[in-house]
């Protein structure tokens, strides 16, 4: 079934069409949720909320932009909404450091990469994911998270610094492990 008729059937609340739409986009939106949430369980909750919102408001989709873009925005907004509900101030440290790394330094599995992002404090994680992984500008992030653009920039830098520190820790742990095992 093509996307247009699938959307039409979802507007008519046909269960089968809803299931098909879910199967078509669940992986994309789950990965997206994983980047904005602190663990898989939270990401699944976010995916649930996002799909409910999608099916409830699918008639509002006017077809002008890409459908995938529309459902991705809903998923991100859901993550931001839950962040706003449990809003916690993050102390901002203005310790501007270099955030460049060598590629070989992050030669980790995808799960480890993902967990590094998920371990970031929520606000940092959101700003990092929005800016670096989903191409939102600081202006847009500032509007979405209701923070200033400077705070967004500062949060991004802080997120990168934390990630760099964690990568260093992981690498040194890996090195120590290898040395102790005589590798």
């Amino acid at each position: 079934m093509n996307l247009e008729s699938l959307i039409k059937d979802c507007i008519r609340q046909k269960s089968k069409a809803q299931e098909e739409l879910y199967n078509r986009y669940k992986d994309i939106l789950f990965v997206l949720s994983l980047k904005y949430c602190s663990n898989e369980a939270e990401a699944e909750d976010n995916l649930h909320n996002a799909f409910i919102e999608i099916f409830t408001n699918i008639k509002k989709y006017n077809g002008s932009g890409s459908f995938e873009g529309w459902i991705k925005r809903i998923t991100i907004n859901k993550a931001i909404d839950s962040y706003k509900k449990s809003y916690q101030m993050v102390p901002i440290k203005d310790d501007f450091q270099d955030t460049l790394i060598e590629e070989k330094e992050i030669d980790f599995s995808l799960d480890t990469i993902l967990s590094l992002i998920q371990e970031l404090p929520t606000q940092y994680r959101l700003v990092f994911s929005l800016y670096e992984l989903d191409d939102y500008s600081h202006k847009e992030i500032a509007q979405m998270l209701e923070i200033s653009e400077n705070t967004s920039k500062s949060n991004l830098h802080r997120a990168k610094t934390i990630l760099k520190e964690k990568i260093k820790q992981k690498n040194s742990f890996q090195n120590n492990y290898n040395i102790s095992n005589g590798e």
Binding site: M1, S5, D9, I11, R12, Q13, K14, S15, K16, A17, Q18, E19, Y22, N23, K26, D27, F30, V31, L34, K35, A43, E44, L47, H48, F51, I52, F55, T56, T99, L100, I101, E102, E103, K104, I106, F108, L110, I113, L114, L116, I117, F128, Y131, E132, L133, L156, K160, L163, K164, I167
Partner: protein, 471 residues
């Protein structure tokens, strides 16, 4: 240094290759919540339809106000008559007492005093005159048209209130120094009540003046005069009261409170739609509904002469045929196939021929409708509006070709309960006092016959006999 890149870009390059699936329980919870939402939507639907029904009732109410207050079936008509009788008899008594008063006055041999008394009434006079006024009002109104009578129903209530006040005053008048106190009391009354009181009093005064007959028979003794006067008054009043009773009774047109109506209705389901909703692939196949004959009945209650409410039950069948369907494809989405039956097995059984799909549904329908009579002669006309709840009773899908048929399953998206809003007209012919022939063309708009399928309109002509249960 050349190999160094921004940590953000490095993460992005890595994470782009991430591919993960959520656990199956996510869909289960989404599906459960979507179903819950669908169920929840039924309540607002009921609120809407009930609202429409109530609105409809209130829109019709002003037209039936004339009969409403008089003929409301839950209000005892005898009681109404009794009240009116009481009012009348009160009026008579009061008239008698006022007559006695005036006779007493005339007994004093000074007619002037009588006039003075009328022109400056005491509180007791107020009470009497109020009663007189209400009695006279009811008498005069019964002589007038029904409309004027019921227009003044509010005024009547107010008058009753005033009457009660006046009666209190009259009781108080029996004790000492009542006149002045009551005078004060009446002056303390609300301006509106005062106005009505003064109006009724004025009317009474005017009528008393009119009714006042100066005593010219000087040759009679005072006792004889009193006797004659009383007799005359009684003679005058009694027939008037009887006439009034008669008029009031005549003005109440008796009508049956309850009725039953049994009908047969040729019905067409799927008006203005000729597309199959079985599968999006069948949208180009011609789909046509059939006329079915449905049976049912109503029990109704007349709220007023013109407005009535009825509740019914009927068995409604709807048959649709989608023609020339090619089964050489995957299973159709809205058919729940019987075990062992698939499109491929159908193709094999019918030698790859195109087939007709026949859908047969029947519902137990519970209509709840309001009817308003526009014309009530030997031949009458009504408008009908209401809602129906339809409970799914039969659901089969079969394929047909050259008189061969095979039941392949049922429709999967059909709801067990759905609702319609009904609108139509009613025409009738009165065969006798209690029996009439009805013909009611009714459109029914099916809100939610199946999950997400287009809404349907059905049209039926309900024809049958209506019998009034009591008179």
């Amino acid at each position: 240094m050349e190999n160094k890149k921004d940590i953000g870009k490095a993460f992005r390059d890595k994470i782009d290759g991430l591919d993960k699936s959520p656990s199956p329980k996510v869909w289960d919870s989404i599906n459960a919540e979507l179903k819950k939402k669908k169920k929840r939507r039924l309540l607002p639907f009921w609120i809407k339809t009930t609202g429409i029904a109530i609105l409809f009732l209130f829109l019709l109410l002003p037209f039936s106000t004339l009969e409403w207050s008089r003929n409301f079936p839950f209000y005892n008509n005898n009681k109404t008559d009794a009240t009116e009788k009481n009012n009348t008899s009160n009026g008579t008594n009061d008239n008698n007492s006022s007559t006695t008063n005036s006779t007493d006055t005339s007994n004093s041999g000074n007619s002037k005093i009588g006039h003075e008394k009328i022109n400056s009434p005491t509180s007791q006079d107020n009470a009497n005159s109020s009663d007189n006024a209400s009695a006279r009002n009811s008498i005069s109104s019964s002589e007038k048209s029904k409309i004027t009578k019921f227009k003044s129903s509010n005024a009547f209530q107010k008058k009753s209130k005033i009457k009660a006040l006046a009666q209190n005053s009259s009781k108080a008048a029996k004790s000492k120094s009542k006149k002045s106190r009551l005078g004060n009391r009446s002056s303390e009354k609300a301006p509106f009540e005062k106005d009505v009181l003064s109006q009724t009093t004025n009317t009474t005064i005017a009528e008393n003046q009119r009714n006042y007959i100066p005593n010219t028979e000087t040759d009679l003794t005072p006792a004889e005069k009193k006797k004659d006067s009383l007799k005359e008054k009684k003679k005058e009043k009694k027939p008037e009261v009887k006439d009034e009773k008669k008029t009031v009774k005549d003005s109440v047109k008796p009508f049956s409170k309850f009725y039953v109506f049994g009908y047969v209705a040729p019905t067409y389901y799927g008006l203005f739609s000729n597309k199959s909703s079985l599968d999006s692939r069948l949208e180009n196949n011609k789909s046509s509904a059939e006329f079915t004959f449905n049976f049912g009945g109503y029990i109704g209650v007349n709220i007023t002469e013109r407005l009535n409410l009825r509740l019914g039950a009927s068995l409604s069948k709807f048959n649709t045929t989608t023609q020339n369907v090619n089964f050489n494809t995957s299973n159709f989405e809205n058919i729940e196939y019987k075990p062992g039956i698939t499109n491929s097995s159908i193709v094999a059984q019918f030698n790859n021929e195109n087939l007709d799909i026949r859908e047969e549904y029947s519902f137990l329908e519970i209509p709840f409708e309001l009817k308003y009579t526009l014309l009530d002669k030997k031949i009458g006309m009504e408008v009908i509006g209401g809602i129906s709840t339809l409970y799914l009773n039969k659901n089969t899908i079969e394929v047909e070709k050259n008189n061969q048929s095979l039941i392949i399953g049922k429709r999967s998206d059909l709801l067990k309960v759905h609702f319609t809003t009904n609108f139509g007209a009613g025409f009738y012919y009165k065969i006798s006092k209690n029996l009439r022939f009805n013909a009611e063309p009714i459109f029914k708009y099916h809100f939610n016959p199946s999950e997400g399928s287009p809404k349907k309109i059905s049209f039926g002509l309900q024809t049958g006999l209506q019998y009034n249960l009591n008179n």
